[in-house]
Symmetry: C2
Subunit: 110 residues, 2 copies
Amino acid sequence: MLEQRKDHLEARARVLKAMAHPSRLFIIEELDKEERCVCDLTAMIGADVSTVSKHLSVLKQAGLVLDDKRGNQVFYRLRVPCILNFFGCVESVLESRAREHSAYLKAVGK
Amino acid sequence: MLEQRKDHLEARARVLKAMAHPSRLFIIEELDKEERCVCDLTAMIGADVSTVSKHLSVLKQAGLVLDDKRGNQVFYRLRVPCILNFFGCVESVLESRAREHSAYLKAVGK
DNA sequence: TGGCTATTTGGCTAAATTGCCAAGTAAATA
DNA sequence: TATTTACTTGGCAATTTAGCCAAATAGCCA
């Protein structure tokens, strides 16, 4: 595999990896609606603040969100607005699986 | 967070996680061009066959690929054709980061 | 049948991830 | 200044992941 292609694949993989966690997907969906401070997100997710803060730093590190400190709160927002359209395909994977699974159940007679 | 929403986020996260590895992204790109047997992919990636086989089983488990045994070879293909368009957004994240980084370097005078 | 070739699986170790608590920093307010 | 609120960071234990080798399975062919 060419070195350049490898670098590119690694860059893409890092972005996907940053998104590949339920709480981080939740954050992305919420930030798509409006910017939020850490405290809001923490309340919605229901985990420790430190945990949410670390999730946010993963997203920031990957270039998915931007932060903005105002007073003693830190507000996060999406850096790239397209992220949610992005999920059309993930959905079709899930639907394809669901269809196949129910066809299977039918075939087995359940 | 509602239980149903949580389940949905977990399902999406599983798909993304399966994609979030350079070798697996490589496999997805190659399978988008044409179906391939494990031996082809192994030669292209340059890792142990067992490693490639495990990557393929991750993709299969996530519902991203289908396998088809013919003779003593197993051919894999994408289950969902949209996966590559899917990357438009990942690219824009990467480009956004690159732009910002070079603006930073310019500001610092490098 | 015996020996190839292709693939998967088990087992192991090293490394990364997750989540909590505790401690530290920074801004607002009493 | 002392306290409170908001957030980040360090550190730890439990879990998961990645990659290799070795062994097992399955299909082909001499």
